[in-house]
Amino acid sequence: MSHLVSLDPRISRLGIPAEIDLNSDKTLSDQLSTFEVFHQKKEGAVYQHVGPVHANTPDLAFLFAKEQYSRRFTCTGIWVVPTSSISVTPNAEPGVNIYSILNFDHKFEEGTPVLFTVFHQKKRGAHHECMGEVTAASSDEALYHASLKYGESGPVVNVWIIPSEKITKSSAEDVEFWNTLSEKKYRDASVWRVMDKITKFKEEQKSGN
């Protein structure tokens, strides 16, 4: 069987068969679970949702989160949370505060009170932002307490309630991870300056060099 020949010698050396079978499906068995990632842009700023990662453990999720969401832009902290542990409200219509249409009339589940962290999305399209913590026996009850504590803080389209113990947080010494970014100037747009070269080139063309 002939092998794939590429311009890239490393690919030629792999000995991939020249004819690949495109109709075969991959094994759909290795989908990892998902985690939501939050970051703190600078000291004192609120934690903000940045996006998900796929991982099998919070540790691995943290590693991927660091690569994916803080590789290029510095931050001072990262939190990761299993997506499955986040309770989500419906979305409110524009101009409506979501808390005002939620029904808190029922009796809440009983249990040991624990801490829950509350996130608000202030408008559609915005990132969810951390508001703080409430104590409750269930996420339902936590949402009720959140409505009392944060309901008047301004527009809210959507709320996330997370058991605080499910949040894996970067530690104080992890901040050093992000101190190295200034050494990597070669990946900043601002260091690639071409105007001088172009101007010089044009002048040379004009003078017939």
Partner: protein, 328 residues
């Protein structure tokens, strides 16, 4: 980086008849007001389907687009350019991950998307089916393909779907480095020795036809996308984006004394638009359908990487771990 010229499925307006008219009206009103649609909002099936298709193609383009440039990391001229090239390729793969996640919020798993890439069902930007023969090709990709991608992505970032817009805001911020780095690499060669200038000229000549294809078929022949424009899935017509690209970059290519291989290319003073030779859309279709110089290699390499990495993912599997759709 990313290819524009998404291949949308023809929209079948009768599909809309099955949708709840009241919900549909509220959905359209929201978009008209400039509000974003979020994952757990009601949305018509057609909106969901076309968005998945578009974001997925975008994600695949980032992953496959890393291949022609990745090839040049080991042979980049000088340590600084090698580091920058590596950072750029890493960015592109990261963009792929961000985009897969945005598409996942619509209900298609990342596994299904990767499967459809390697079994050939999903498309990616056609431009990556062409080879990067020399370092100058890599420089032209970094500069002009990324420039085209930015035109497209800046428009799409204003689209209606929240997770896609947020991913694009992040991506556009990184792309500005790619563009400047690519421009610098090209200017360095173009203001250098006659041999270096010849390298750039040859690369420009090679890449011009695929760059003209980049934004997709001419509006005259492309599928009707009015409804996708109304829903802010597609933000500008193929020809409008092509015009914008020509406006921004043809002068920058010409100022380097380079020649573009189209004798008709010029700005029409009357219309204010660029005239050009109609790109060969037959070639575009042929290459999209698998018959380009690198289609086979790109998919073979992706498939091999997927198969070679399977044991790692298997080792990471936890029986109790359950996949849930990411939130936003």
């Amino acid at each position: 980086m990313y290819g524009g010229g998404n291949i949308f499925e023809p929209t079948k307006l009768e599909e809309l008849n099955a949708e709840d008219p009241i919900k549909l009206a509220a959905f359209e009103a929201r978009i008209l007001q400039g509000e974003k649609i979020e994952p757990n909002d009601w949305m018509p099936q057609m909106y969901r389907k076309q968005l998945i298709r578009m974001i997925e193609q975008h994600a695949h383009s980032e992953i496959i687009g890393a291949l022609p440039e990745g090839t040049w990391i080991t042979r980049a001229p000088g340590f600084r350019r090698k580091m920058a090239q590596m950072a750029k390729v890493q960015d592109e793969v990261g963009h792929g991950q961000l985009l897969y996640s945005a598409a996942e919020t619509l209900g298609k798993t990342r596994e299904e998307m990767i499967n459809d890439l390697i079994n050939g069902k999903s498309k990616y930007s056609n431009i990556f089916n062409y080879p990067a023969f020399t370092w100058a090709d890599s420089a032209i990709i970094s500069w002009l393909v990324d420039a085209g991608a930015i035109v497209n992505q800046m428009a799409n970032a204003k689209g209606s779907y929240g997770p896609y817009s947020r991913a694009l805001d992040r991506i556009c911020a990184e792309e500005s480095f790619h563009l400047k780095y690519g421009h610098d690499s090209v200017v360095h060669l173009a203001t250098g020795s006659p041999k270096q200038r010849q390298m750039v000229q040859e690369a420009i000549t090679r890449w011009w036809p695929p760059l003209m294809h980049f934004f997709g078929p001419s509006d005259k022949i492309s599928a009707h996308t009015e409804i996708l424009m109304r829903w802010k899935v597609k933000m500008a017509s193929n020809d409008d984006m092509r015009q914008q690209f020509l406006d921004m970059y043809v002068p920058k290519i010409w100022e380097l004394g380079m020649v573009l291989p189209d004798p008709l290319l010029c700005k029409n003073e009357e219309t204010g638009k660029w005239d050009y030779t109609e790109p060969d859309w037959e070639e575009f279709k042929r290459v999209i359908n698998g018959d380009g110089p690198c289609n086979k290699e790109r998919l073979a390499v992706r498939k091999m990487a997927e198969e070679n990495g399977a044991w790692v993912r298997r080792a990471l599997q936890k029986p109790e771990a359950k996949y849930v759709t990411p939130l936003a």
